[in-house]
Symmetry: C2
Subunit: 643 residues, 2 copies
Amino acid sequence: MVRTHGVCAPASPSAVAAHRLTPLPLTAVALDPSHELGAWQQVNREHTLPHVIEHLESTGVLDNLRRLEGAPEVPFRGPVFADSDLYKTLEAIAWEEARVPEERPWAAFARECVALLARVQRDDGYLGSAIQGRGGEPWQDMRWGHELYLLGHLIQAGVARERATGAGDLLRVARRFADLAVDALGPDSARTDAYGGHPEVETALVELFRHTGEHAYLRTAAAMLDRRGSGALGSGPFEPAYFQDHVAVRGAREATGHAVRQLYLAAGMADVAAETDDAGLRTALDALWTSAHGTKEHVTGGMGSRHRDESFGDPYELPPDRAYAETCASIASFQWNWRMLLATGASRHADAMERVLHNGIAAAVSVDGRRFFSVNPLQVRAGADGTAATSRRDWYACACCPPNLARLVSSLGAYAATGTERQVALHLFGAGTVRIGATTLAVATDYPWDGRVEVSTHGPLEELALRVPGWCRDATLEVDGAAAPAAPGADGYVRAPLAPGTHRIVLTLPMPVDVLDPHPRVDALRGTVALRRGPVVFCLEQADLPPGVPLEDIRIDLRAAPRPGPGVASLRAGATVLAEGVVRGVDGLPASTALPRSSRPPLASGMLPGRIALRAIPYARWANRAGGAMRVWIPVDEEVATP
Amino acid sequence: MVRTHGVCAPASPSAVAAHRLTPLPLTAVALDPSHELGAWQQVNREHTLPHVIEHLESTGVLDNLRRLEGAPEVPFRGPVFADSDLYKTLEAIAWEEARVPEERPWAAFARECVALLARVQRDDGYLGSAIQGRGGEPWQDMRWGHELYLLGHLIQAGVARERATGAGDLLRVARRFADLAVDALGPDSARTDAYGGHPEVETALVELFRHTGEHAYLRTAAAMLDRRGSGALGSGPFEPAYFQDHVAVRGAREATGHAVRQLYLAAGMADVAAETDDAGLRTALDALWTSAHGTKEHVTGGMGSRHRDESFGDPYELPPDRAYAETCASIASFQWNWRMLLATGASRHADAMERVLHNGIAAAVSVDGRRFFSVNPLQVRAGADGTAATSRRDWYACACCPPNLARLVSSLGAYAATGTERQVALHLFGAGTVRIGATTLAVATDYPWDGRVEVSTHGPLEELALRVPGWCRDATLEVDGAAAPAAPGADGYVRAPLAPGTHRIVLTLPMPVDVLDPHPRVDALRGTVALRRGPVVFCLEQADLPPGVPLEDIRIDLRAAPRPGPGVASLRAGATVLAEGVVRGVDGLPASTALPRSSRPPLASGMLPGRIALRAIPYARWANRAGGAMRVWIPVDEEVATP
């Protein structure tokens, strides 16, 4: 079912699916490593992926599997879903092998891992080192067992490997396990709880259907969606809503519960909806999207506001300091929006992908590619010693995020464009090339730091569609040196009709600094603004303030318009935003968390008053220098608030 | 060691202790049930305590103990510290038996429970149904076992019972267990982890020392403090700071970790500091107090900002919606401040007791006394259906709070006054009488709803000290009809010297409505104010708004000064605050959580504009009517902010 030349991209709909856009092959897009997205891919290849591979050994992920070959005394290490770290890594390796035809040690590593998986897989197809290691029976703990979650990641790795390298070894392993699951939990299962506590397998099963043409996988995914919401998973320690098991998926109207679960589930719903043309699912998806993006999305694109259960929280409950905004939730949101984009063609979904990619996801990895955030707050306060407690870590006991980053970044090109050799749409802007059939596009841009996107086309291309981002006002378009209409259509794209041949199209997206107010119902952000330029959200970091001036005392003076500034070399260049600020010391205040207004002394009376130049860096680059406080949302000085 | 007539009050220092104030006997103060505090005691007696006793049966607390008498097949129910529910209840029964000399069925219930405890106690003195039921060994899990926590509550119950009723049966049980603990974990123990993961036993051991004169108990409490901070408790799933095991207690400067643990620990530190005159502990206590009350206290007196680990959070991290503010933390803060008050005589501690009593603690129980909050947020948003998810419950799986409330309220009189028949200080104002030796004080007041406190004295009293609350400006004093100096001393108390005989002292505390600003560093509350009158914090509830006007759209207009209003009968009278508001609809806004300031439409353009009369009710009375949104901190209308 690989329907295009080259390596089929993730989530490519089948020929019969209800969709608007058709992905290009993964290998159609090559991102230029001297610019933002390509540079990130390069860091991912050179540093993140090797780092992830190393940690599969040091954290016991591989030993968990090896012990199944006769070393039962070796204890299982890590969470029950530890195998998925390996699967996501194998998927990342596959995409890298497709992307850059260059022999690397990870090719042999992948072969060995696949051979190991094939050896330890049970005769009936079951594969899961936690259950197998203790001689357990499958499918006994649908709520917490994560067995279907493991199957999902195994399928995705197997499909990626076959698409990318032609090697069907891992896919055979995955299909044996998938077939076992279809038998036990498929459409004909009598079990009312035949669905997983952590959604992920649904989207993977549809991918397997798309890759193999076997309808049983699609029907199983659909059945698992249909059953969900009965509460059959039970509860404890969290409520059924945590598992999105409180309401039928077609009745869901509010994004709720564990954010990664909700977003993976939504991705699976979108896949099933596309392949079965299911209007009920689409209605639910639209409502979930409005709920998630309209009321529960941090400005960085991150989602999830509660640490206790890693959940969304209530509408407009968006605390910057306690934002959970798990990296995997950001990646899941990216993946869900990709599916929504394919189905609808609406630019708001590509806008959401861009927003979370350049902010929520990019912030999760250090500039050197070897340290990671799993939780991505929008504010960190300094401790008593002036340093912030939050910094990226080498690894996590629950390490779902680093390999998830690796697989996403390695496949990033797949999400940049869609179409055919006659009609191409650009969704994510990055310097590089697009080759599809006889058509070639060379994209020159310093996006997201600069809004000029120059596309040189050659070949039989008849139409180039360019996304006009939702953040942009007054975009201009030039085709072969002449101004062209730049107003986007209802879908948010501007279209340049072209005759076959060679053309130069220049889309210019003005990038002033946007001052963002929080929605009035976001209580946690009242009285603050965020700075955004293009798709990039900025933040203040203690490292940019003079000694002795705590970030907590900074207020922004909006009478002076914030303006673009130069990049910072140690932060991989990029850009900054410059603004004017006021320091408001609080040393003169009584030690109390609430102060009578009638007796409140004026702020900054004598201590550290005065003006200060502020430099904001991209949120994606925070915590790459000395530890210290950080904040995205900056209090507006009361005395000088906007007129 | 009962050194005063009547029933010795909790935490009464020994004759050699370093302290400024001396508690009165518990029975010296009788609160009038027709006014606030006495009415609460009456509800506690008639409804809360019987409700708590019923639940000891229905939740298996008693069965957990009964099964130790030959029914090992009965499963243990509840958390490992379930026995403490019984101990706190027995303590509450004891205080009620002392307080009201009237035969109640709970006297027999208590006798039976004590007999049961005596029968199932192990020969070596060990008592703990969770460990005993599974034949476990004591002291194997200092981090999570809660064995010393159980011992602490058992001691407090045993002491209370002997003091209140003269029956030494429960105290004998407690001492046998305490002696076992002293042997195993006392000063001579070689174990470096000879202290509990959940502090509580420290204050109880000092109480036992005070009651029995046996120094081994005091030395054991001191040793447990001395050892703490080594990290020997280990970690997982939380860091050592969760257990206050990250720093030596004398080195502690920041209130941190699990709030109830920190506050019980501080109470124990204060007791040991008083009995051993320990300057190092006092220095730490002062720093902890400043940290807790200056940077981590919700305006209701509640403490704890994080649900995940029930912890304090960072300084100024005070989210109203996700405030944890556990009821037990409020009670622990009350208890700690009582000990600090006795040690220092400084009114700020009584202010803190009053604040948390009338707000954080009072809100934890319904008007009918039979429903409870364990978590006490300062804001609840309405769900999609207009009702709020948060409401008080009959009981909790972890039911530490309801019996803790019962024992506190039953002993409330003990905290109202200190002194001798010649010198009395009033700390908590409530209608009632104080009888000490030949001195009688009759207190007439409608406090906290009215600031007039009239004290009629008779007897050899030579000085009456009255607290002038920190919230009060322009207090006036009248002695026998003549104006007297009302400026409080450095300790916050105004003193009336009296000749033996009969006098009438009237303290008038003006109670305008205070508009409180949050401290500028409290990010979560920026742009809002709270309304307080006297010690009482008020809140807006959806039930007081017209249909169709969501609380989320309400802004307060501070150009009109908020003013006192009449009480609401269905909420046990009390008082209200009336204010002017503006409704700011958000229907015209784009569905996004962040909006460019430059393109933001004006609020309330056409939808639900206009002014509205606001009625705020005491926070302590919220969630006693229809479910719905609630908020203590009210956004100030931007357009009409203070000049």
